[in-house]
Symmetry: C2
Subunit: 332 residues, 2 copies
DNA sequence: TTGTACGCGTTATCAT
DNA sequence: ATGATAACGCGTACAA
């Protein structure tokens, strides 16, 4: 391996001068600069980031803690888009992303591991957070996506508003018997969407029987199926259902079809997320779109500011959602 | 920050002993081990990976070079599953994944950057590779996914076989006028799938007019649309079409429907990949499934062996594909 | 079994 | 403008 010592020897300058050239320091002659740069090129020198990190205490890496509880990991249709956007933003400032291994059983150690790696900051991408507190009590700059954490920054969609938008739309279409397939209430996003649902129905003067709100679990296709089965088994099934996640909504649609009913003619369905899939299914799914691009970008900005000490106090960024009308809902 | 010196001071042992305890070296007394471990716990010591990497020349990081030419980056439905599987495998051996920034314009520098970071190995996940040669000529252990590179290891599906399977199936269903929407021929996977198509049709004694093979670009939905439009414009349109990618196939299906035709009654469509979407669309897409899980796992094994010097010579691993019958194809 | 001392490649302080 | 030299935190010959 070639080091600054090699460059120093080749150019007959000291390592100090070499280092200064490499880091664009002011006090170096043009001549020195030229010679050094040339030697760098000729010898194919590449700086060693470990040594630099050791000396500067700055790694230019951002640790990524990814949703694990869904099994799919980084193949998650929503989170992968968010993190891609996040990556694009931090790349602008030369940060790399470190996806840390989490096979160490105890969650306690993933935070330790991040410290071990010396990452400059951490982004936690998950809707569920047992270990959240560890991060917030630490000194590692951290930003959470999809869940607010006390004493830490977070970025998430306006979930409540999304729930309200869905109900308003359905109500406007003439629906009165509106059901809700909710996410498990251990997730902040799920709770908020349900809250929006309840708020809006109340606002409209609707009385929703409690069987109309059913737990669909962790936003999975299967969870949506099971929930919809329950809904169809009711004495008075709903004419419309707001499903808290798109994958879950697809499961629900499937069950409706299997029961010999049609979407949206018999039952209207509206989802949440707008994953890539949604516009391709039949019927194309009406849904509440989360702005993944903006979520990723905003969380990057927040984290970078924290890392650079520009924002001392924590803050939450709430990203607007948007109703995407497709063909899974119709007037009554 | 607390270092081994702090532990040494607290336990009244030397840093050597501390280091040995931390690394499970043989020659340490139980007593020393106990005291050190306790101090580690009390002082909340976390080893510094940069220092360790600097001293051992081993980073326990694997660099990931991801497909960029499709725009979606890590949100790619196929690659994200592969890399997730890869991650699971390397995690077993305590490696972390480093997704490096690539905003530096010239591709030349992404390889430099990897060296700078001191990663122990590199996995290149893309079907297109202008810069492939750089890796193969370097000393960095590298494994390519989806494209074979001379003097380097690679893992990819049996694309040719996939093309043949598709044709055989269609032929068995009675189809004779079989078209092919191919991927751009700059991609190895595309070339192979087309080769399989040609081989099989020839085998069956079919003569395929050259307008039946149309370039759909880089496996995109839009590319599939455009290609299908061309196919439908033909004097004698095909009764079946083998599309080299699922997203592309969905675009094709869409166009067929828009033309007032039905899938599969009027035109049968078979895709390639089996992305999560495929089973949910209407009709559920018959396709050639790539074993993403195995591809990821195998490439990890290959790379790890290379890193550990267990396999000196390069090798390619070809992963079997599988026909998944759903409802987008029917007998003539 | 334990400890001393040096090296890993850089940055940074302080002279010159 | 340039250069010695001391950190940064850890691993490891070598000695004791």
């Amino acid at each position: 391996m070639t080091t600054i010592y090699d460059i120093a020897k080749a150019t007959e300058y000291s390592i100090t001068t070499v280092s200064k050239v490499l880091n664009n320091y002011p006090n170096v002659s043009e001549k020195a600069k030229k010679k050094v740069l040339q030697a760098v090129e000729e010898l194919g020198y590449t700086p060693n980031s470990s040594a630099r990190t050791l000396a500067t205490n700055k790694s230019w890496m951002i640790g990524v803690v990814f949703a694990e509880h869904l099994g799919v990991g980084m193949a998650h249709p929503f989170f992968s888009e968010v993190i891609e956007s996040f990556k694009k933003q931090v790349e602008l400032y030369d940060y790399d992303l470190l996806f840390v291994s989490r096979n160490m059983g105890l969650q306690k150690r993933t935070y330790k591991h991040l410290k071990h790696r010396g990452v400059d900051g951490v982004v936690v991408v998950q809707s569920l957070g047992e270990e959240a507190i560890e991060y917030s009590t630490s000194k590692l700059p951290t930003v959470f996506i999809d869940m607010p954490i006390e004493k830490s920054s977070a970025v998430y969609s306006d979930n409540k508003q999304g729930g309200m938008l869905a109900v308003d739309y359905l109500y406007g279409l003439g629906h009165r018997k509106i059901a809700h397939i909710a996410g498990r209430d251990t997730m902040f996003t799920a709770v908020e969407r349900t809250r929006g649902f309840k708020l809006a129905t109340r606002e409209k003067g609707l009385t929703i029987p409690e069987q109309y709100i059913v737990d669909g679990g962790y936003y999975s296709y299967e969870g949506g199926r099971e929930a919809m089965v329950r809904l169809l088994g009711l004495e008075a099934p709903p004419t419309a259902v707001f499903v808290a996640g798109d994958e879950m909504a697809l499961g629900a649609v499937k069950v409706i079809k299997e029961a010999g009913l049609r979407v949206p003619e018999d039952i209207s369905v509206i989802g949440f997320d707008d994953i890539p899939l949604s516009k391709h299914v039949d019927p194309p799914l009406t849904t509440i779109r989360q702005d993944k691009q903006l979520i990723g970008q905003q969380s990057a900005v927040l984290l970078l500011d924290k890392i650079n000490g520009l924002s001392k106090n924590n803050q939450d960024k709430i990203v607007p959602v948007q109703l995407i009308k497709r063909n899974s809902c119709s007037a009554l």
